[in-house]
Structure formats: C-alpha cells, structure tokens
C-alpha cells in the first residue's frame, strides 16, 4: 500500500529537554493511524513537526514519497498536510465559507471578491463530505461539532491527503461523534490518511486501523488495532502494569467536623446544598456535566457570592464572601482550570508556590525574604516530587501533572485545613495521576479535610471515602466508598428521571 507519510529517526530538542528521541511514524493511504501516549509523550511535538509548526533537529520526513522540510504551516498545507487543532482556530464573526477560504478568496480584478464563487466552492466541499451545513452562517453561532466540520472542510479545501486530528472528539457528544466517524470513513474511502490523536481507548479501538504508542519522547511500537487489547495499549503507554489499589476508608466517626454548609444557594446550579465534612475525610463529588459541583466549590471558596446559606468551619460560622476570606478560614481551592485560575504561568515555580502565603515571607515594609521562599519551595518540590530543573523554572514549561503539584504545594504551604480539588487529574498523565491519588490519601491521613470533584467515575470510586452525588444543582444523595458506578449514575440522573416520570404521569392524567 502507498505510504503518504514516512518519518524516520526524528529528533527534537527543547531547552534542557530531549523531546523526541529517534521517533518513527508512517501513514498509509486510506487508513486511520492512532497516535497514543500519556501527556508529554511527544505526540503533539511529532505532529507539529509534520505540519510545519516546529523544525526537526534530526531525521527524515517524506510526504507522498518526497523528502520535505516545512518551515511554515502554510508550506505543509500546500504539500497536502492538514491539521485540525484541539482548540479550533476559526474566526467567529466570519461565515463558514469566508473561514474556509480565508486568504484565498476567489476574486475579480482589482481584488474585488467573488462572493458567489466563494459560496459555491464551499458548498462543493461539504457536498463531498456529505454534510449539510449553511455555508453563509456565522461560525460563532454554531455548535462545536459543526465548527469542527468546518475545520475539516478547511483542511480538505487544500486538497489534503493527510489529515491530523488532535483530540477531535473532546467536545463532542455521542451523536456528534458518530457523525464525525462517518465522515472519517468517507475520507478513508477517498484515500485520505488520518492521524488520530486521542486519549479515549474505546474510540481508538473503534475507528483506527493501526496504533502507534509513544512514551517519554520515544517510539514504543506500532500494532494492528484489530488484534490489540485496550490493556495492551495501556501497558505500552505506561511501560508497566498498573495495579489499581482499592480505597482503604479510615474510620472518621470520632473525628471533628471540619466543614459544614447549610442550604447554600446560588442560581440554578446551587440549590439548597447542605453537607458536612470531617477531618481526615475525602468526600468525592460526582455528577454529570453542569450538575453544579464546581459552582458549589466556588461558592464555598467565595469566588462567587452566594445568595443564601451558612458556612461553618471547625464549628464556627464564617462569613465567606471572597477568596481572601475563605483562605483566612483555612479553605484552599484547586481549580479545574489551573492554567487560568490556579497558576501564574509566566512566573516561576517558587513564586507560584508562595503566592497564597507571601505575607509569611515578608518583613517590615513588605520586603521579601527570597532565601526562605526558595527553601519552602524546595521543601515542597522534594516532598511532592515536582519534576522541574529548578524552583526558578517558569511553570508554563512544566508538564500538566507537575503543574498540578505546584498548585497543591501552594495550598499546602498556606497550611489550609480544608482543600477542595476540582478535577485534580485533568490533563495529567496516568503515572502522575497515581502520585496525586497518593498525595490525597497522605493529606487525609494527617487530618486534612478534602473534597474531590471529578467527572471520572473510576477516579471518584478510587479516592473517595464517601461520595456526594449532584444532579441539576441539587445534592441527590450520599454513597459509601464501595458503591458501584451504576448506583452513582442513578443518583446523578435522579431529578431528570423524576421529571420524566412526572411528564408520564401528566400524560396519563390527561388521557
């Protein structure tokens, strides 16, 4: 079969890091080749080399049989390599057709645009893809799924034979994923080769023909999808078999209550939420997207102002209306979006770790004792095993797992007694996940009261001592640690069930 892409012995260095070590990758005509690996394994770097974003430091890249060396994404596009980034790069205020042909608009003399031709060309592409879409609609008004179709159409408009998709289903629902897959099948039939980057194992199994796994910047191996199990892929990715320990639930019946909230209320996402949390306990918050878990956390932390309700810390009522008051009360919040809300990416590790407790390091006139900041940072870097060249490294250069550890260090240094972890392992690779679970357990063991919010059921079941489930802004129940996924899902959809039930009853009555 014809090779569309052949990459051999690819090397890439970043300052202080050997990011790609002699990596190989090829892509055949009409296949979906999945590229897998933990975060930081080098998948994106490899694909950025193929699509002209980065320059390689060694090795050979052949596209359609010819040796190439792209210096810009545009050159890659012209050589029929298209990439669809995880974060879509469309102009929201322009129409679908305008987006697809931006910079290449059909025109009359003197640069006057030929709108009719533009629309016709755009429609033709969607016809090929078998997708119904209004090419004159503004992109900003469309769903993420539709926008993704526009990205694909844009890539195809360059007559791309090679299409790189980076986490294409991250923001799609099941129905949209099926639509995407049928387009992928169509493209395959037309001979397009697709590089498919995803973390979702079942999806990979379903759509891909071959799977290549990378780890720590190295090539691990390539397998036919049909005769490779998910378990095999995971062990290739991790490099070892992961033993999943069960939770050992400590007895906290004698422990003091660290946090109690009564009848918290804010809009439709936080409706009459009451619960209590003991010292040394890990309370997992489960629920579907939009159930209101993050909103509850933000209200407790004072990031959003509650409409009503009471918050008690160590038995005393506290008036918490801002994060600074929450921190004074000993509550720390680790946001799900650590890049925007948890870290100052452009600042170094030591500054980020010390940010919440900076006054402890300040003398008269607010003068900082840099040496003690450095010591404190070093202390947590070794305690949490944060992998960074030094405490003066900018945090944006760290991997997701290590960034998360920096945020954890920040709150530990502040000596908070109550810690709220919102999606603590999002964007963190499997190895670092386990370390974070271990840290959570150790924190509980020394008496910290912990709330963990997670969308992943296995994670909730793995770390929680007790599970609170939310649905549509309400707490629908508490479950013990040894519950099943089904029990959680039942509570997570409880109010929806009753409303459907209600509808049925209504219709019965009307009949």
């Amino acid at each position: 079969m014809k090779l569309l892409v052949d990459m051999v012995d690819i090397q890439k260095y970043f300052p202080g890091v050997h990011a790609l070590k002699s990596v190989q990758f090829d892509l055949r005509e009409g296949e979906v080749h999945a590229l897998m690996g933990e975060n930081g394994a080098g998948k994106s770097t490899l694909m950025k080399i193929l699509s002209g974003v980065y320059h390689r430091d060694g090795g050979v890249v052949k596209v359609l049989g010819e040796g190439v060396s792209f210096s810009t994404p545009r050159e890659a596009q012209d050589a029929q390599v298209g990439i669809i980034h995880q974060e879509l790069s469309l102009m929201n205020d322009l129409t679908v057709a305008q987006n697809i042909f931006i910079g290449r608009e059909p025109r009359y003399m003197l640069g006057v645009l030929n709108e009719a031709q533009l629309i016709k060309d755009a429609e033709q592409i969607f016809e090929q893809m078998n997708v119904a879409i209004d090419v004159q609609a503004e992109v900003g008004s469309m769903t993420i799924a539709k926008q993704q179709m526009v990205e694909i159409a844009k890539a195809l408009s360059y007559r791309s034979k090679i299409l790189i998709m980076d986490e294409p289903t991250a923001a799609l629902n099941d129905k949209e994923i099926r639509e995407l897959f049928s387009i992928i099948e169509k493209l395959k039939a037309d001979g397009v080769g697709i590089v498919y980057i995803s973390h979702k194992m079942d999806e990979i199994k379903q759509i891909s023909d071959r799977i290549t796994v990378m780890r720590d910047g190295e090539y691990v191996g390539t397998r036919e999808s049909s005769n490779t199990s998910i378990k095999d892929i995971i062990s290739m990715m991790v490099g070892r078999d992961l033993a999943l320990e069960g939770t050992k639930v400590p007895d906290t019946s004698e422990a003091e209550t660290a946090l109690e909230v009564r009848s918290l209320k804010l809009g439709k996402f936080v409706q009459d939420v009451s619960f209590s949390l003991k010292k040394g306990e890990i309370l997992g918050f489960s629920g579907l997207m939009g159930a209101g878990r993050t909103e509850v956390a933000r209200v407790i932390f004072g990031a959003d102002k509650r409409e009503s309700g009471e918050i008690f810390v160590n038995g005393q009522q506290r008036e918490i209306n801002s994060p600074s008051e929450a921190v004074k009360a000993g509550i720390g919040y680790l946001s799900e979006d650590r890049k925007h809300f948890g870290l100052v990416l452009g600042m170094d590790v030591r500054t980020n770790i010390s940010l919440a407790s900076i006054f402890d390091f300040a003398g008269i006139g607010g003068i900082l004792h840099e040496a003690s900041i450095g010591e404190a940072a070093q202390d947590y870097i070794s305690k949490l095993d944060i992998r960074t060249p030094s405490d003066k490294q900018e945090v944006r250069l760290l991997s997701g797992g290590n960034q998360q550890k920096v945020v954890i260090a920040k709150w530990l240094l502040r000596d908070c007694d109550i810690l709220i972890f919102d999606e603590p392992t999002r964007g963190v690779d499997i190895g670092a996940k386990n370390e974070i679970y271990k840290i959570l357990n150790e924190l509980a063991a020394i008496g910290k009261a912990i709330i963990v919010i997670s969308s992943e059921l296995p994670e909730i079941l793995r770390v929680s001592h007790r599970i609170a489930v939310m649905c549509e802004g309400k707490l629908t129940g508490f479950l013990p640690a040894q519950s099943s996924q089904e029990e959680i899902m039942h509570l997570a959809t409880k109010t929806m069930q009753s409303s459907t039930l209600h509808d049925n009853q209504m219709s019965e009555i009307s009949i």
Partner: protein, 333 residues
C-alpha cells in the same frame, strides 16, 4: 525523566533564562551607547560635561513619570493621567507654599499626599467600579487638567517667596561634595526614585503582586489575595511618584504652570515601551524604563545640537518607538 537529566538541567536552563531575561535591557542599553557614540562623532559639542548634565536634567521629570507609568503598565493597566496629575500636584504645591505661605517641610509632603490620594482614586475607579484603566485615567487626565486651571485661575503660581525651592531640582548636592561632578539634584532624585521603585518591584510583596496582576489576575484572586486593594495601592503609588515629578518640574521652572502637563503621559509611556515593558502586562524593569527615558532625551538633545529642526526631531522620536517595539517583537519570535 531520569534523575540524571534533572540534575544536569538547572545550570543550562538557568543560564539560558537569565540571558533571555536580560536580553532586552541589553539591547536598549546598546542602543543608548550607540546613540551616544554616534552623536559624539557627529558633533564635538555633544560629549561635554555640561551637555551630558543637561541631558540628565531634561530626563529627570519624564523619567520619574515613566517610572510611575511602568508600575501601572506591568499590572496590565495604563495610566494616561500621569502628566496632568503631575501638574495638579505642582499647583497644589504652589497653593500650599506661595498662597498659604507654608514652609517646605509641610508644603512638599502635602503635594505628595495629593498625588497618593489622587492615584488611589484612579485605583478605586479601576478596581472597585471596574472602569477600564484607559477610560478611567483618560477621564482623570482631563479632570486634573481642568482642576489645575481652575485653582490657579489660569495663571502660573511662582515660588519666588519660597527660598531654596528651586534648589530641589537645580541645586547640586553631589557637586557640593565633589565639585567636579555638578550633577543636579533632580537627576539624583530620578535615580533614587528608580532605585526605590526597582526595589519595590523585585523585592517586596507589592512588586510580586504587580507582576502577578499583569500575568494572571484571576489566579491571584483565587490565591486569596484581595486584588482590589492591591490595585488601588499600585495606582496610589504611581500617583505619589507623579507628585514627585510635579515638585521637580515646579522647582526647575520655579513656578507651577497649570497649562502644561498634557502630552507628558505619552512621552512617559514611550520611555516605558522603549525600555522593554510589555503593554500587555506581566513584564518590565525600572532600569529599562530609565534607559528608555534617557534614549528619548539623548535623541532630542543630539538632534538639536546637529541643528535638526524640531519637527524632524519629533519624527525621529516616533520612529524610535516603533523600532524599539519591533526589535522587542523580533526577540520574542
């Protein structure tokens, strides 16, 4: 990652980052040196002690204002009111010293206090009322201008009755100690203010928060920091520094001129930008700003010595701003 790579990395990364961090200052500084050499070669009158001192003297007011602007700009804000606030404080100083006949040790702190309070008010508009800094300080710029004119009824206030007032800027403490180095006090004050501001920026909690506000304000808020309060403090400090500039200017021309001031804010922002501070916040140094202010004065002075007409001096200054920022962009890519 293996342990060996971790232990090997620090020196390498440390050197690289420190080189990168100081690169811009290096460029700005080289630019200044090249300008000095160029003008010295072009005219024998340029590199004379008296001329260098007059360049420094001319830099003092704009330099101090640029320092004030730098603080605000690093927080990703902007302060358009620095020029007219300077004038406003000079007028207050005139009212206290000349109209009310207060002694200097009361009148000057009074003027500084007016600066801090006015700055705090701008900070209040930005932090509490959530008015974008550009708009809030644009409004304040006009308000200070109008107030200054109103207070003086449009006429300058002279400091002829206050003995020693002009010494604040034009006297020379250094020249008194080292007669061969008659550096005026105004220049001494510029460097003192720059050193203090640099110290605040790099060594204090306030400085840490100034950078954090410009880098990621929301992350700072969610770290439990009362960001409104700190923003007000930053604008207030900038206001206080504008008052220093006001006293300097008043002392140099021995009068408070209510009609001047507008336009100074643009020279100040130009110095900040030439000095490598990013208008999008989070990055900047005081040394860079002082170098930026010096570059502007050196160009103006050098071109005047070469008898280049003033209108063309302005064109050159504009070009230098664009060139400096272009160099900065090239460095980033």
């Amino acid at each position: 990652m293996s342990n060996s790579t971790i232990s090997a990395a620090p020196t390498e990364a440390g050197l690289l980052t420190s080189l990168k961090r100081n690169q811009h200052r290096f460029w700005a500084f080289s630019g200044l040196i090249i300008l000095l050499i160029g003008f010295s070669l072009a005219s024998p009158n340029f590199f004379q002690t008296s001329n260098i001192i007059s360049i420094l003297q001319a830099t003092s007011v704009n330099g101090v204002l640029a320092i004030a602007a730098t603080l605000v700009i690093i927080t990703a804000g902007i302060d358009l009111s620095v020029g007219t606030l300077m004038t406003f404080c000079a007028v207050i100083c005139g009212v206290l010293l000349t109209n009310m006949g207060l002694p200097m040790y009361l009148g000057i702190p009074g003027a500084l206090l007016a600066g801090f309070a006015s700055g705090a008010f701008s900070g209040f508009l930005v932090a509490k009322l959530k008015i974008p800094p550009f708009i809030a300080t644009l409004g304040m710029m006009l308000i200070y201008k109008g107030l200054s004119l109103a207070i003086c009824a449009g006429r300058p206030i002279y400091f002829n009755d206050t003995e020693g007032f002009s010494e604040i800027s034009t006297g020379s403490l250094i020249g008194y100690i080292f007669p061969t180095l008659p550096i005026p006090n105004g220049v001494l004050i510029l460097f003192l203010v720059a050193m203090i501001a640099s110290f605040i920026l790099t060594r204090t909690v306030l400085g840490r928060f100034i950078f954090a506000l410009g880098s990621n304000e929301e992350a700072l808020r969610l770290s439990g920091v009362n960001i409104d309060r700190w923003k007000i403090i930053v604008y207030s400090l900038a206001g206080g520094i504008c008052a220093v500039a006001g006293v300097l200017l008043a002392s140099r021309i021995n009068s408070a001129q209510p009609a001047i001031g507008q336009g100074y804010e643009l020279d100040a922002i130009a110095a900040v930008v030439i000095g490598g501070t990013s208008l999008s916040g989070g990055k900047g140094t005081m040394l860079g700003t002082v170098i930026g202010a010096l570059i502007i004065s050196v160009v103006a002075n050098g071109l005047r010595i070469l008898s280049v007409p003033q209108e063309w001096q302005i064109v050159v200054t504009g070009s230098i701003i664009i060139l400096a920022v272009y160099a900065d962009q090239m460095r980033r890519n």
